[in-house]
Subunit: 460 residues, 4 copies
């Protein structure tokens, strides 16, 4: 774990902390139903996070290629939705958690529909619903869609594809079952070939982080700026990921982590924090349900530590609180801080910067601040002897996500460690770099993590 | 449907529209397993919405009392969570959608746990986990919790309670089953008495709207200001409502409506839009799964029309777009509007008000604006002959929820209908009261609804 | 319904009674998943019964060919048992009623075994367990086995086979499912081809009656005298037919009818009464579970009317009863009868025949009597003017099956109608041709049926 | 294992052989859900067999009392059938194997019927269907019925009853479930009290052997001669025992053992061989499904060794074979044997006895022979020096059950060991006491067992 060199390295540092804590977890076993998966190095472990501005933060083996497998399902589902519409797709596949394994044969009585697009049966149906003038054309469109989500041209691992074809008896069974039941109308052999090929597309942890970020960003790839799909489609995809993505313990997953996610049997796991970022994890050892052991723990840890649960309500300050706070600011410590800042501003503009934050500060907002500060620090004349002084005006902040609290704390720690001064104009004691940060347990945790990240007293 | 007299009546008007459209829907049948429910007037229909500032908007029969039934489950679950903690509660009851009916007997193999706290079996367990020195004390605490959520002292319908006791064979079976399996350790008769009593608590549609709003508000009752439970508990409760609240079609519900919700067999339905509002619906005719027919349709319509899906990503404007927009503002039509506003402002301060909106505008933000404007209009000297002019500066708005778009449109329509002028300083053509509102289909819908509400051309 | 010309026509007459009663039952619908089945004439109805001496009794359309379909399963199972042994076969397929439809996908957890050899999945496995040097050889052995059971060379309906192949998606699914689970190890395409071919073998109602009789006869074809399989294998096959042959209402079937049976979707139904006869039914209209409506009712009526339930205990006379009966015989009416018989015997040997029946008289024993009497009557000089007198000595009969009681009563009626005299030496009042036949309800029924059969007063 | 003193002790000796072989089997565990069962001596092991003449053969702990538990179900079902009729009973309880555990909660969709009368839920229904003017009267009738089946006045273990009442949560659940579903209409508390009381009736292995024999004997208790129920009811009861008596492996049980049977959780197991005998087994260690480990193995061994499968077809000789055999008899060895017998008969009538066996010889017939011979031997003057000579004329035997073959072989061995001569007049080489007994593997086994029983070379 390298010390952060730039402010924006703070995010990388946190990924490093999670990586280092989990790398010793050797539970689970590599998938072995085909030789190519069985041969995977079980020690590999990569964590990547892609923000909505397209910056990708990485820790560990984030550039090792692996086959996307079931993590392809949400993205192909998005293509089926765009080709056929929500109603037409769900006339052929349900939207209910199955309470069963990923290769369940349970079809809905009467309709013959598989339970949802995240189990194999449902994914075979969504693959068959992608339009195309031929099987080749259909797969070309799928590969183009996956590539657009990832922001680079992806390719197929032909050896894995051949093995999947050979060992795919159960999927072949599912397909024939659905054809018999009428929920699959396309030819079985062709559809399965496309499905196996889609599962054999090679990606890295960084790729799937970008793919998740594209969903989180309402369909615009934050790396390339390309609109891949609509915001509405992303909402549908993330809903299905939230309720059905983690197979038979979807409810528990939503309760504990609260993030839309999807795992693949090669060890990949993609998650999306709507409006915030995408997460790409890779570690080949799987739990009993076929999800990456370290991937699940890492995603869960990031989600709970950072308060990223989709039903999490950010800390909100009432108007009354803001007014009272402003009064305090004028009269007390806050005012003094302000006075110092003003004096510094007058004395030497090159050494001083002020950022006013407003409204709801989440990961995305905090990340923008880090990147802005990095730019300012880089632009500052290298020969300045006096330390930089940064003023963060939080007066008009109305909501603070836990992850943003942690990022501001880490920012302050990072700056102080380099001799800079950070002065927060914050009337409610949410100040950074001064006493009074300990409103809540979650907050404490964040601060301890931040300290750990800059080298001081990591306590767990 | 009365015409709105105050700006904040706009919300009521919309509830009226929904009410009037659905009141003719007579599908379903009143529950008849006990005489008290069978006797309910099937025509009753009430819709109530409670914002996070405690204002309750109402349409129809929102003051008729009915028994809360299963809609009590999320709130008693919150009490069990607070008494025992998340892990202890879920050691005894699962968190998975059951894919089965509300009175399913399916217990988890090995643990004997019922699937989740929203089916009867699970709710009996959570009731048993509420602490109390005696059965009476336990129920007193439950009643106090329900009352705190509702913001008034609730009471029990003793006749319903007696009938529930008498007809409760299946629930009795569930309780004995769980006692045999070890997931229920409390005495059966006592626990069921408490459970039946909790189901027999009398509420109105308005009450449950406040209850839902308290969840949406992170545990603080917006009516009374009382903190009823923690934000963390509310997150857990709403997650379970989202995944398990609508019984066997939970996944479909989350895909289509995307709101945590819970129905009761007397016809009540409570829903929460986190950070926005609570919804209380009442209509006694039930569908096959035991949920209010009109309640389900109304909740779904409100959720989809207003973009309230928990995984909905608001429209976001990039920094580049904002800058460009500001430039346009200076050079073009926007600037002209601004000039008019400035001139008006100078000429007659009594007739002119400017509101600057910033950041993310959702239902809560838009509602505050309506209430503020109402106050200003009321405070304005009654003898002014010149029309009021209202300027809405949207330049620094970065995100607009669909419902807020609709509310601003309705505001403009309302004001113009009363001879007021509304000038929006909005460089991106999101202006209200001028041409150019038609960016999206959702937006169009909103505008049409707004027009309908003020009497002009309702087209469906 | 022709009047019986020979004594052994009595059995045919009873089949005619059943045929005529049920031919008006037009419930159910012809299978329509392939055109060849859909085109079947729904009015066809054939009943055939084959005794253990190889005589086949027929009523209705017993020579119309149809495809054997699932009625092939017990016979191919017998071949798998002979090739692999009971344990090896049941290591790959269970022996439990599935409580599910014939095309159920339920496999046993852990082993992947289909529930039993009578559902499609299980039958596919047993087909795969038949030995053969090639697919052709394997099918040749199956066809030879079916032919040996039927006592003639059977052939395949190639058009049905082609259609089955085309429409067999669900069976293909089952096969892939089992291959994935390890219970099927043979290649899917080849195994299914053999399976579909086996289902397309053409048989008549008479053929399957002989097939059932071969099972009932402990593996020796009563028509050809060929030993087709062992008595032990027949016991296994009939057990599986008894518990699993009638799909999801196997228990009810065993309770009500108590005969091992198997139906096919083309309308065939084969049943075996161990040690008694085989039954072949054909009528294309099917009930919801896919069994011939008339076939099920006919088999049930024959089984209950004739007391053929496998757990039925025949009427037994204790030693004391027999002794007392002998004493009565000497002293009373019986003796008188005997005296008449002796006198007749002395006077004219050509006109008199005595049959002594001993031990347990069942269908098989009574049928032998009918055939013997026919032979004697045919051999009797045609110019005899005096009537034949037949003496049946029942003194040493210890057990009488219901069907035998009925057959003896019918014999007496037939003879009397032709002016013959029948004198029974039966001390217990079981005499035929004299008063005192009415010991039991079952007996009454038999007599009424017998009367009906010879033209007198059919009352239902 | 004592040497047999009388011919009829041969049966006892065989039970001893089975007892001694299995007594070392200590698999399984004593039921421990109530203290009274947990305290049972796990070493106890009793085997009793009751023939249709009322003779009870015993080995081991056949007089130790234990509670009948679920083995009461078939007998109470018989009472419900007699009180209500088959159709009325099965309108409330199904007849299908459940494929589930004895305490399954699965009720039939639509009807709410439990699957069959042998699982707890079904047995609670049949108990409720027994008529009675009061709960006491109803139980008095049940106790009278059980006593009539056993042939002695039975009583209740009040301590077990009290414990069952206390620990009966799951059964209580089942009862409430069925009351909710309409299949149970009687009051729950009262019905369960009766049910628990019926389960607490004390019996011995010998008692349940008599109970099973009464079923096998068509409803007449062979000990008391009392007609307890009708033959038709016995057929229904034994059918349900055959298909549903052994819980979730009923199909396997019927395939392997082929005997109607029912186990109880205290270690009792009752089986019936229709027309042959009843079997009572007792050993408290249970397998996973709650059936006595040794009981299951012993019943299975007796059934397979003796060819008692209900679908077993006895060896049958055709008429042609019998005629040919008679010819051989006159001409050859058989004739010579006959000549010896005739000579002995003339020389000394006191020393010679001839038995002619006819028709179908099963356990019941062979047992009668043993008892007759015992009587003759006892009646023979004690001072005769010359050995007794017994002639068995088998010429007219048409069918031989495996168990009868074995009994005749054992008879011969027993006689020879005491210096007596046994001469069989049997043209087909089925002779006993001479060479040529080895037609079949089953026969060999029987002979080896017989030898073992008389002390010579037990080989396993």
């Amino acid at each position: 774990m390298a010390a952060p060199e730039k402010l924006s390295d703070i995010v990388t540092s946190f990924l490093d902390v999670v990586h280092d804590r989990l790398v010793g977890d050797r539970r689970g076993a590599v998938a072995d139903y085909i030789p190519q998966l069985a041969d995977a190095d079980p020690e590999l472990f990569g964590i990547a996070l892609c923000g909505l501005n397209g910056r990708v933060y990485e820790s560990g083996d984030t550039h090792v290629e692996f086959t996307i497998q079931s993590a392809s399902k949400p993205f192909v589902y998005s293509l089926a939705l765009d080709d056929q519409g929500l109603d037409a797709v769900h006339a052929r596949v349900g939207a209910e958690p199955s309470g069963e394994a990923f290769n369940s044969v349970k079809l809905e009585a009467g309709t013959g529909r598989p339970p949802n697009p995240m189990v194999n049966a449902g994914a075979i149906v969504t693959t068959s619903l992608v339009e195309g003038s031929s099987a080749d054309d259909r797969f070309a469109r799928i590969l183009a869609r996956l590539s657009a989500f990832a922001g680079r041209d992806l390719s197929v691992d032909e050896a894995v594809f051949a093995s999947e074809q050979e060992s795919g008896d159960r999927n072949r069974a599912l397909a024939y079952l659905m054809r018999g039941a009428g929920s699959l109308t396309a030819p079985v052999a062709e559809t399965l070939e496309t499905y196996f090929r889609q599962c054999s597309v090679l990606v890295t942890a960084s790729d799937i982080a970008v793919m998740g970020a594209t969903l989180a960003n309402g369909g615009v790839n934050p790396l390339t700026g390309e609109r891949v799909t609509s915001a509405e489609t992303c909402q549908h995809v993330m809903t299905i990921m939230a309720t059905c993505g983690m197979y038979d313990y979807a409810g528990e997953w939503l309760l504990r982590a609260g993030l839309p996610a999807k795992s693949g049997v090669a060890g990949g796991l993609v998650a999306s924090s709507p409006g915030e970022f995408g997460l790409g994890l890779y570690s080949p050892r799987l739990d009993a349900s076929g999800a990456s052991v370290r991937g699940v723990v890492a995603a869960q840890r990031l989600a709970t530590r950072f308060g990223l649960h989709v039903l999490h309500r950010p800390l909100t300050l009432s108007a009354a609180e803001v007014t009272a706070a402003n009064d305090e600011l004028a009269a007390g410590l806050g005012a003094e801080q302000d006075a110092v800042a003003t004096q510094l501003l007058q004395e030497n503009a090159d050494d001083l910067a002020v950022w006013r934050l407003r409204g709801y500060i989440d990961f995305d907002g905090a990340e923008r601040l880090l990147l802005d500060l990095d730019s300012w620090l880089e632009a500052r004349p290298a020969d300045r002897e006096s330390p930089a002084v940064i003023v963060l005006d939080l007066t008009e902040v109305t909501q603070l996500q836990s992850v943003a609290v942690w990022m501001l704390a880490a920012l302050a720690t990072w700056c102080r460690a380099r001799g800079m001064r950070v002065i927060a104009s914050d009337p409610q004691g949410r100040s950074l770099g001064v006493a009074g940060l300990s409103q809540s347990a979650g907050f404490d945790d964040a601060v301890r993590d931040a300290a750990a990240m800059t080298g001081a007293n990591p306590d767990d």
